[in-house]
Structures are given as structure tokens and as C-alpha cells.
Amino acid sequence: MSEVKKIATRASYGNALVELGKKYDNLVVLDADLAAATQTGIFKKEFPERHIDCGIAECNMAGVAAGIATTGKVPFFSTFAMFASGRAYEQVRNSIAYPQLNVKIGATHGGISVGEDGASHQCCEDFALMRVIPGMVVASPADDIEAKAMVQAAYEHQGPVYMRFGRAAVPVINDNPDYKFELGKGIVLREGKDLTIIANGLCVSASLEAAEKLAADGIDAKVINMHTIKPLDEELVIASAKETGKIVTVEEHSIIGGLGGAVCECLSENCPVPVKRIGVRDVFGESGSAGALLKKYKLDGEGIYSQIKEFLA
């Protein structure tokens, strides 16, 4: 049996920064004493002079990044999703997004798969928090290949971008020659006629697994990798709703305000169909291994499958 290659998207982020750093002199990386965890340490090793460790002071780091951006450089600042989107929320809104500064936020350790650190560090609200800020792009990659493509696209995009990466190693699923990444464009990974599963992050591979299980029951599920939550690929969402009549969203985020919220907003205005939001159900997480937590919160292949079966029943 061949082993599926697994890489944490935070590692992909660190590696992508090095590649971009070689190409672009104006790329600067900031961290808040988490360089080993966010993996910006890889960049620091290669380009120590362009890596600014701000210490444990995330609000200031966001503002410093804003100031650097005003001078034409392209800063990527990194910390855990909890602190990037939560603690520094107002700095991101007022110092970065309001003046539309070209700052990229590489938020790692999103969702419950942070694992053992527990609820204080498991941010399941970041998509919602970032999505309501005008002009903010919000995205979360499914695997290593997508994460690297996303970092490149974020550099090329003019304006603020929030990217959420994960701590846990996840299967590489986009390893094919046709793979093409574009911010704001969802990717259909599997065609189907009975329902559409729209997922992001590590829930994409789990959703593909669930779709296989559904297929065994004779249920034909379309699967979309919606790596960009904002701007949402509304065209694809609406077309899929019309085509399959039912939508399921899957994310490692609160069912309130994230991908599920965005899809519901789009569909209720344009094409109301039954929707099931799968995610963290308005609760805080807890300590445990990533695998055990994903199982408990029904975000693994089996959990997604069983929730979809209930939805269809």
C-alpha cells in the first residue's frame, strides 16, 4: 500500500516564503516569537536581515507591517490565527485594511487541529472575523501544493490578504498537472448530481473521503475545494446549487460566519436550496490530538459522511 504524502500547510508557507524571498527583494517577514511554530524560521535562516521578530506583541506587529507596507515593501506577518485575527483584530481593520495597505497575514494554527494546546489556541472564528472587514481577502489552503500557490498569489495581489494555515500534517491532494490556483475561484474536485460538498482547508480531503463513502451508498456527491472564502466564488456556488439542489459546507471553523455563513448568504439571496453547515457547532474546542479532535467534532471523513447521511434522511 502506498503511503499518502502528508505535509502541514504551515511548513508549506515557510518554504514558499523562502522561494518568494529569492525572487523579490521587497518581501519582508514579521513574526511574534513563534518563528519555529509558524515556520517563518525557514525564511529567517535564509534571509535573517529581512525577518523582523517583534517579540510577543501582535498588535504592534500588525501596525509595524502596515508602516512597512506604506514604503512599498510587501510584509507578511505571522502568528497563530487566534492572535492574528483575534488579538490584533482592530489593528488589522484600522491600520491595514482601512488604508488598503499591501500586508499579507500568514496565520498558522487555525482550527481545532491545533490539538493539545486546547481551546485558548484553537481559533474557529477567524474566517468570520476577517471576512467582515471591507477589502480583505480570506483564504485557507487544502494542502501543500495549494498553500504554496496561495502564498505566491497573495504576493501578487494588491491589498490585504488573510491566509489560514494548519498545524497538522495533511494529505497532498492537488498533485496533478492540471492544478491551477486562482484567488476567488473554487476548484471542482469531483463531479456529482445529488448534492454538492463545499469545503476548505483540511476538510477538503476529508470531504473527498466522505464522498467516496456516499458513492458506496449510491449517493453521487460533487466536491468543491473553496480555498477562498472571500471573495466567494458565487458563480460556482449558485451553479452547483441549481445543478444538485442541495449544499453541504465543511470547514474547521464555527458554523457561524465562516464558509458556511458565506455560502448561505449567497444562496439565500440567489438560489435558496437546503444547506447543511458542517463545522464546529458554536462551542470552544479542547485538548487532544488533532486526529482525536477531528473525529470527536465529526470533521473526519466518517463524521462528515454521517452528518450528510442525516441531512439527506
Binding site: A57, C59, A62, G63, G67, T70, K73
Partner: protein, 279 residues
């Protein structure tokens, strides 16, 4: 530019501030008037800037961290020629580019959007770090309120500035002694301010009268000689300076004069201007 010229400009700026705030029916005259001399000194004597080329990458930068004193900032920018003086009367009005707080996207000469207290200094630190990274020689100035330094972010930014030895950065604290809820030492005293910045590895210059151009000139000249550390200029000022009934009055932090008060303020400033012309 000599002191008398600067005083005349500052007097015009004060008239602009009172006029803009009166026209808006809202705004922050007290802290605009306490900082009028430092605004004027920065834009007419200190900074390397060109109103005809406001985006020059080599220009000195200014961040108004105490963004609510936008009327003072805009008035100086208008006097310096960044935009027409008449536009000051559109302050805070729907459709005007002169937003209630500084907006870098729409106001010529504004280097950073600000207004949420404690945030501007971080952006200034970022600009100073950026200059160090690419070997640029521009200097960065930021003005903070004495109440503003109650924000924890100010000290996060100061710690990084001191640690990174940002000698291209000058942090100015407008110590007018008053904040919305009362005297700063009765609300939540930030004193001693100078010792705090010293502890954060700043070269500290205390200015006894921040409404005096000679003292400001000496302070900024000293700041330029400092190597290996950022400078903090702590200047004592009078809130509401130049308008008798606003001076040292907490109530004039964020309030517009009515028509009668406006006439009185303008008469006082006209008189002060005439006195300067007699010199």
C-alpha cells in the same frame, strides 16, 4: 525660516483650526491648538518634504498617532500648500476628502491613516525599520497624545524601536495634561513619561514649553545628533492654546464653538496676528 515667520504661520493655522471645527460643528480643537507649533515646525522648518511631490519615496514621514487632532494637521498641510485652504471648511462633511480622522488614501500629504489611539506609533516604527532595511535616509516623526500613551500598544512599539536602535525615529508626546475624562494624572497617570521612554532605550528630550519655537528648534536639532537610539520629545503644552476660553479646559477636547464663540476666537487670533506684524 525665522521664529517670527513661524509664529505668524502658527497664528494662521490656529484660525484655520477654529474655522474648520466651527464649520464642521464637531471636531477636536483643544489638542489641535496645543500641537499647532509642533505641526508648524515640522512642516515649515524640520521635515524634508515637498507639497508638489507628496509621495516622494525619499521624503521624511509624519504619522499623527493622536489622529483626532486632524484639524491641526490638515490646517498645517493646507498652509503648506498640499491642498486649498478653502477645503478646510468641508472638514467632516459628507463627500469631503477631509475625513474626521486622517485618511492616507484621499488626503494629499497624509502618510498614514490613523485615529484609533496607540496605532500610529507602530506604523511609524514600521516606516523607520523599512528605511533601515533598505538604507534610506529619510526620518520618521510621530505625534502622540499624553492620554494616548495609556494604550499598551505604545509601549510594544517603543520596546521594538528602542531595541532596534531606530535613530531615524522621533516620537513626540504632546503633554497638554488633559484627556476627555479629566486631567491625565487624575484619570490614569502616565507620569513620569520621560523615565518610561528612557527605560525603553530612547534618548529623551524634555521641552518645558512646546508652544515656543526656540525650544522646539533646539529639541529637534538635538534629536538629529542622536545615534543608535530613537528620540522621544516630551513637550509641555497648553491645551486649547491661543483661544482664551479654551485654554486648559477639558471641555474643549472635542467640541465645536458656537457662532458667538467662533467670533470671539477669531477676534482674539486676529489681534494676536496684528501684534506679530508689529514686531
Amino acid at each position: 525660516m525665522d521664529k517670527l515667520e513661524l509664529q505668524k504661520i502658527a497664528n494662521e493655522v490656529r484660525k484655520d483650526i477654529v474655522t474648520a471645527v466651527h464649520s464642521a460643528g464637531a471636531g477636536h480643537p483643544g489638542g489641535s491648538l496645543s500641537a499647532t507649533e509642533v505641526f508648524t515646525y515640522l512642516y515649515f522648518a524640520e521635515m524634508n518634504i515637498d507639497p508638489k511631490n507628496p509621495k516622494d519615496p525619499n521624503r521624511d514621514r509624519f504619522v499623527l498617532s493622536k489622529g483626532h487632532t486632524a484639524p491641526g494637521y490638515y490646517s498645517v498641510l493646507a498652509e503648506r500648500g498640499y491642498f486649498p485652504k478653502e477645503d478646510l471648511k468641508t472638514l467632516r462633511k459628507l463627500g469631503s476628502y477631509l475625513q474626521g480622522h486622517p485618511d492616507m488614501k484621499h488626503i494629499p500629504g497624509v502618510d498614514m491613516s490613523s485615529g484609533s489611539l496607540g496605532q500610529g506609533i507602530s506604523a511609524a516604527v514600521g516606516m523607520a525599520i523599512s528605511a533601515k532595511l533598505s538604507g534610506d535616509t529619510y526620518r520618521v516623526y510621530t505625534l502622540l497624545g499624553d492620554g494616548e500613551i495609556q494604550e499598551g500598544q505604545v509601549w510594544e512599539a517603543s520596546m521594538l524601536a528602542g531595541f532596534r536602535k531606530l535613530d531615524n525615529l522621533v516620537v513626540i508626546v504632546d503633554n497638554n495634561g488633559l484627556q476627555i475624562d479629566g486631567p491625565i494624572d487624575q484619570v490614569n497617570s502616565p507620569y513620569p513619561i520621560d523615565k518610561k521612554f528612557e527605560a525603553f532605550n530612547f534618548h529623551v528630550i524634555n521641552v518645558a514649553d512646546g508652544n515656543d519655537f526656540d525650544q522646539l528648534a533646539a529639541a529637534f536639532a538635538e534629536a538629529k545628533t542622536v545615534k543608535g537610539m530613537p528620540t522621544a520629545i516630551i513637550m509641555k503644552t497648553v491645551k486649547g492654546k491661543g483661544v482664551s476660553y479654551m485654554e486648559n479646559q477639558v471641555g474643549w477636547h472635542g467640541k465645536a464653538p458656537n457662532d458667538e464663540q467662533y467670533e470671539q476666537a477669531m477676534a482674539e487670533l486676529e489681534k494676536a496676528g496684528e501684534a506679530l506684524c508689529q514686531k
